[in-house]
């Protein structure tokens, strides 16, 4: 399993690759072939599938990690495709309990972790200081929790 941060294809590179893929206004013809947001989501979907493949057997971490199931993959991909446009690409990370987590790090003491656990969206953030933390669990229905979007919008625009 490759680390796309190391190979130049992590969150910021995902965004750049999304633009290269055609998600930008073309200088030559003024046409946008594909929204940037959709392009990075497709790239992240591929990364999720790579992770799932690498973590498909029990004990993939050398200990007792739960395999990442097709159901977990489906939930993770659905979550990403429901991401609001303001959201920048996260890093996808395997979890030993068989989930795929998404992580943003905006700087020192500024990070957010997100995952789908069963039928809930779970997120937890550090917002500027270690004692300034926020977390919540919300039903995973048809979109991202408002507060989650608010936090990411603020952090993405100030990062």
């Amino acid at each position: 399993m490759s680390n796309r941060w190391e190979t130049g294809s992590g969150p910021s590179a995902l965004f750049e690759r999304a633009k290269e893929k055609g998600g930008v206004l073309s200088e030559s013809n003024g046409q946008t072939t594909e929204p940037v947001s959709l392009a990075w989501k497709e790239l992240l979907r591929d990364e999720i599938l790579d992770i799932a493949s690498a973590c498909s057997r029990e004990g993939w971490d050398g200990e007792e990690a739960v395999p990442i199931s097709s159901a977990s993959v489906g939930r993770a991909i659905r979550l990403i495709y429901l991401a609001p446009d303001v959201v920048r690409p996260p890093e996808a990370v395997p979890s030993v309990d068989g989930e795929i987590a998404f992580e943003w790090r905006f700087g020192k003491y500024r990070r957010l972790s997100l995952l789908v656990h069963g039928d809930e969206i779970v997120f937890s953030a550090i917002l500027g200081a270690l004692n300034n933390r926020e977390s919540a669990s919300k039903p995973f229905v048809d979109g991202w929790p408002t507060r989650l979007t608010e936090i990411l919008t603020k952090q993405c625009t100030s990062a």
């Binding site: 399993m1 490759s2 680390n3 941060w5 190391e6 992590g10 992770i51 993939w60 971490d61 050398g62 200990e63 007792e64 990690a65 739960v66 890093e91 996808a92 990370v93 395997p94 979890s95 030993v96 309990d97 987590a101 992580e103 790090r105 003491y109 990070r111 972790s113 995952l115 656990h117 809930e120 779970v122 997120f123 937890s124 953030a125 550090i126 270690l130 933390r133 977390s135 919540a136 669990s137």
Partner: protein
């Protein structure tokens, strides 16, 4: 060579090491450790205790720490994957900032321990994992293998 750590209680100023075996659990370019690196293992019956495997490495030099990782993590694996990095964190962060406990578990090595007292709620676990990741220091192995003996470490 430092004395082995028996099952004595953990001091807040001890260095605690989590060996990282997944490339997605760290980013050496940004010195970031993923919170998922600290995610507790789901307990398997009859156990009911979620735990994260760590080593108490206070008093060990760098080569000795990597040797523990080589002998007791890499060589225990059957899939050929290696320790790729480690996250060092103060016991005080685990105990005070995250409100977790460190339980000596001297198998397979006297310095082995488990981070325990994880809440059942995934949301609360994630909060504590974030704290550990934020406060941990990413260390990469040296280009060559360490050479000290393992006998009394």
């Amino acid at each position: 060579m430092p004395d082995p750590l028996p099952t004595i209680g953990v001091c807040p100023n001890e260095r605690i090491t989590r060996f990282l075996t997944q490339r997605k659990w760290f980013n050496h370019k940004t010195d970031n450790v993923s919170p998922q690196a600290f995610s507790p293992r789901t307990p398997k019956p009859p156990s009911t205790i979620a735990k994260t495997s760590v080593y108490r490495t206070e008093g060990c030099n760098d080569d000795e720490v990597w040797l523990i990782g080589e002998k007791y993590v890499t060589e225990k694996r059957q899939d050929g994957q290696r320790v790729l990095a480690r996250a060092d964190v103060s016991a005080d962060v685990i105990l005070s900032s995250a409100g977790l406990l460190i339980e000596p578990a001297p198998t397979p090595h006297p310095r082995h321990a488990d981070i325990v007292n994880w809440p059942d709620s995934r949301e609360k676990q994630l909060d504590k994992m974030n704290v550990l990741a934020e406060q941990s220091e990413l260390r990469l192995p040296p280009p060559t293998s360490p050479s000290p003996t393992i006998d009394h470490m």
